[in-house]
Symmetry: C2
Subunit: 112 residues, 2 copies
Amino acid sequence: MEDIDYIKENRLEDTGFSYTLNLIGGKYKMQALYAISLNHSPLRYNAMKRLLSPISFKSLTNTLKDLEHSGLIYRKEYPQIPPKVEYGLTDLGKSLIPVLDTICTWGEKQMK
Amino acid sequence: MEDIDYIKENRLEDTGFSYTLNLIGGKYKMQALYAISLNHSPLRYNAMKRLLSPISFKSLTNTLKDLEHSGLIYRKEYPQIPPKVEYGLTDLGKSLIPVLDTICTWGEKQMK
DNA sequence: TGTGATACTAACCCAAAGGAGAGTGTAATG
DNA sequence: CATTACACTCTCCTTTGGGTTAGTATCACA
């Protein structure tokens, strides 16, 4: 009984659930990924900012950094002036899109 | 161009995406739903607390209230002493389980 | 007799998330 | 000659989420 409770307690924290949410939980992470996906090609910083409006510089930068560190997006810098930076989905990031789709689809069904 | 940008800006906020996340975004909401689902029957308050440990009373209460107001779970009170209250999935809540499954499954795949 | 189980609520506090606004350097555009 | 665009960074401020602790009423059990 004690044992079972103990195991159960730790169960939920160890599901793929928390793992996934650690990567894409947060206010804008899923939206950022989805925005790139909908665009069918990499997005530049300011384009992202407009799409995720009313996101702030700070949040956008943090969001992109987190997603990059998680390996879900890549950052490509072009040595130009004025600067140009593109953010695109990695293979890992692409593998998440079906998941995001189910979230989006469920919501759309309920909205009407 | 202006028009397109304007439309695109508002797009992401109006997707089913944000709708869904407003309902199940947050630290424990998905876990709470998933816990009930895994249990295959309604859960009592303290049982939930143990499963979602280390959740606090306050967070659990808020989580349950929000989910109830969203129509994803129901609350059934038995007029007993000591009190007994059960929380179960509504049909709407059940319809979300497949979505939660995809999130969980993706995470499990990546964890190994 | 007193301890624990039940399902909470209320008051207070803290840390982290997020927003606002200014600044950077260069180059094309009006 | 001034403005705009680009991709940010930095500092300060506010908001929010969540934790901690204490307390409630009643009954069963040791």
